[in-house]
Symmetry: D2
Subunit: 315 residues, 4 copies
């Protein structure tokens, strides 16, 4: 069986790759996401596909696109992508027309979840929830071995579970959304607060950020935590507790066999995952009688989106 | 095609019925649940089934049981039923051995959800969430037209979503569970508080309860609300807001086409459902761009469990 | 200068003592609180006073009573004492008439606070807040060296600060009151939950309570914590965090020089006070620029009420 | 008796006035606050005072300054004023040296509270709490007829009571502070959210802001509410509920006879105060047996700071 192309369209870059039937990326390219609106993005996606097809010598059977936005139930139109200024873009049809290849469009977190489910940390499970801790929180749900998309294609918007009534305001217009407490943005806010309020404790964090609390970003926190910095570890514990609580809520609804935790925040590995597991075990309902879901770090990293989208393009 | 028997085993009564292929109950009986432990309950279930079989003239093909507890993945053993003092009871095998009929065992909220999905307010949907507002909150989830049971059979324990950190203590050992805010018990607590703190406003409520706040129960609140009592209506609004918020959380994860709301609290009809719908519309994430799930009252009432269990017993 | 009598009227016992001008108790008696209503309690208080007067050889100048209830602004009438079934009881006048001694009546937490302020852990401060962590939380506030009673005599009901919106229901009719999180009752609930949910971790706690989670009471938790039991210490840390947060709220309003923490929960000493201090230091507003209030354990124990009431009876 | 000068030093302007013994402003000037740090501000204050003295023909006996910051216990040094870049500024001594007049320095919210207590809505009370709902929340507490300053001069930082655990982040470094829910900033955030999420309901609000949700400010909301706009009224109800809850917390601690509510948000009068009173009456502890504090709008408006500071300068 031949290869398919997976494309991952994010707010800053478009990453595309030729992927074989075993989920291996055999060729890849990366382009900045055009700042202009709809047609320019569609055009950039098509150009990337054409380039990969040309380089592949024609051994490409289909195209799958994962994109940061709501996608319609027919996996065809981008209903709304706030960070990409897309609304009602018939992305699939345009790709088909231009490249002549069959195509599917999927939400990017769904595509990444599918990648992990098929070829990464989710292999071998029937019921799986993938949680991507990036700037916000993305999610993908695989049930009975199939990607679950919901009644209108917007299932798994798990970052917007409300975890604190009247809590922090979220870009979605609600207050107290999980992603305000358990994402990369939350981790950074925690670290900056700590560096401002207790600079002595956050010495290494501050040093890595050139002394300016406002320049602390995720990578500095991860690095400091890996070097054993107590302030950075405290930040991961705080965020980890919120992650674990949210997984407990998801387990109450979905009872998955496994959670796969990815995204930039998960680069810290067990420094994040240990508090997540502890918090999960402490909060999940029925913990005394149920079998506890497994919680693992993602394995495919940033490639999950490409690999998952490519696989979704297969019949 | 012939009939099957559905049995609904609750904390106080066992209700069983012969149900035809269209979900109609053609014969039914009702027995108190034995206070004694495991074997007595199993025995009572079998006796009820035998009696119905005898009365039916033999036209029964299978037995389905819905029971208030955790049921194993094989739909066979009651892993744990706190209110029935059952633990590890091999209910299915015992029924099969004694009655000679094929049998399945299911969680009671799941069975009721399946009843509504097939023959009640959920007809015609592929993705459905049923919420039963009784003393606590039970739930059942139908995805892609099939009952969703999760990795270990305990999916849809939706009453234990945490909606308030450090909130009210729940019998499950956690704090802030949804059912502490949105169930019949919550409605009653609200009404009693109101009757104690502002007796003048709660005049009718108090009158219906013989003047004693502690004797206000669900039916009094519903009756007072239906008669227009402002205090009772206020209680339904408060509980309705919490119900709607929880549905918004479930929609973020599951994106169902419809919610069916049943249980004793839902007897108040739109007095409950209107605040539920308003709260849902206000809190569901992506409300500006998504299609809003439909929220309906259950149609089968207390029969949903019998009808659903009976249908699950068909192949 | 001569002695005065202090009386501490609680739900279960009446304790009275003859106290000298240096706050030393030179004679004392203790009686059960009569179960019957108003007059019986007043009678028991008068009898205790008469007995002490008789034993003292007449060297008594005045009587001060601290009582668990709301006392009017004239320090004369018990407006409402829910646990004593008193309402509108003119306690002062009755004592004066019967014993011939001048008298004052005060809320019991206020009296205890005054005792600590004058002769205990509050000596030498002008602005002091005393917090009594018993079954609930009582409070007394000394400002500019005087007991602060508020506009209608009910100041310092600090146990009813709301710390969690929609939190645990409180006997006062509100939800989320501080005393539901930071009192002895909260400590016990925490320990029982832990013993039920994780019996292995709570081994010593359970042993001290004869194996029954529901028989764990405050003294068992304190003893286990003093013996190093990790589960009991965890309970004190949880409660200590809530205590510290509440003190931070009080500091935002009152900016006292010192907090004195008493009541049964404080018998654990630094096992409680260390997490209290950490939580306070972390949550108090302006912590980088303000001077942090001192947090000390009470010194007078159960005698604080007698000593304080006796001193309040002096001109 | 002669006049004194009151100066109100805020983040954007310095307002100063000559005030007679009855609290009447007989002359006033207004200057922008210098952007530069400490000395420039002190200089601007002195210049304003000198100018008023010159115009008064010498009939000025003393100077009182209210300033947005922490002032030391001796009412002399500005310990820290985050919005004015002052730290350790010996403001009183500099004014005395330069103008030859006796001077006192006070926190601006305290000065305003004193103004209302002496000549405004607080007249005739002994125990009073003033709450200023501006961008944040300022507070002043008058107990036994005297301004209460606390152990280190920072009492009445009531905007930083924590009302929501893990709530919205506050500039003070904490989370869930009252001023994130009940201030002008909270009102504006509420209105913008509403205008974004439900533009049809917020038609008038949007019109007043030229169609741009991000240009809605306090005055637009007040104007729309006064014209009966339901969306604006809803915003005041939401904020009013939080205000009333906070007053209930303050009453639990301080039991004042009256609350005076001022600041820009209070320009809406009863549109704000009615929901405040309802929420207060519903949440204050002991509401069934206590006398409820009076809640009134401030009377002196922006002049309260000048009038109060001037009066504090009298012996």
């Amino acid at each position: 069986m031949g290869c398919t192309i997976g494309v991952d369209v994010g707010g800053t870059k478009i990453a595309a790759g030729v992927v074989d039937a075993d989920g291996r990326i055999v060729d890849r390219i990366r382009r900045p996401t055009p700042a202009a609106s709809g047609p320019a993005i569609t055009d950039a996606v098509c150009t990337a596909v054409e380039e990969l097809v040309a380089r592949s010598g024609g051994d490409v059977e289909a195209v799958g696109v994962g994109i940061a936005g709501f996608v319609d139930d027919g996996r065809s139109t981008v209903v709304f992508a706030p960070n990409l200024a897309l609304r009602g873009e018939p992305l699939r049809d345009r790709i088909v027309r231009r490249t002549g290849l069959p195509a599917v469009v999927e939400n990017d977190a769904n595509a990444a979840a599918w990648g992990e489910a098929r070829f990464g940390a989710g292999r071998g499970t029937r019921h799986l929830v993938c949680v991507t801790l990036g700037t916000g929180i993305g999610g993908g749900v695989v049930l009975d071995g199939r990607l679950y998309r919901g009644g209108s294609g917007v299932a798994a918007e798990i970052g917007h579970l409300r975890v604190v009534p009247d809590g922090r305001r979220c870009g979605c217009g609600n207050q107290g959304c999980w992603e305000q407490y358990a994402s990369g943005r939350a981790l950074v806010a925690e670290a900056r607060d700590l560096a401002r309020g207790a600079p002595a404790e956050a010495e290494l964090l501050l040093k890595l950020a050139g002394g300016d609390p406002d320049r602390i970003e995720g990578p500095e926190i991860t690095r400091a935590a890996l070097e054993g910095d107590p302030a950075a570890r405290e930040c991961f514990r705080t965020v980890g507790r919120w992650v674990g609580q949210g997984l407990a809520d998801l387990a109450a609804v979905l009872d998955p066999e496994r959670f796969v935790v990815g995204g930039g925040v998960s680069d810290a590995g067990d420094i994040l995952l240990e508090p997540v597991r502890r918090s999960f075990a402490r909060h999940v309902t029925g913990r005394a009688v149920r079998s506890l879901a497994d919680i693992r770090g993602a394995e495919l990293g940033a490639a999950a989106g490409i690999v998952g989208a490519a696989d979704l393009a297969r019949v």
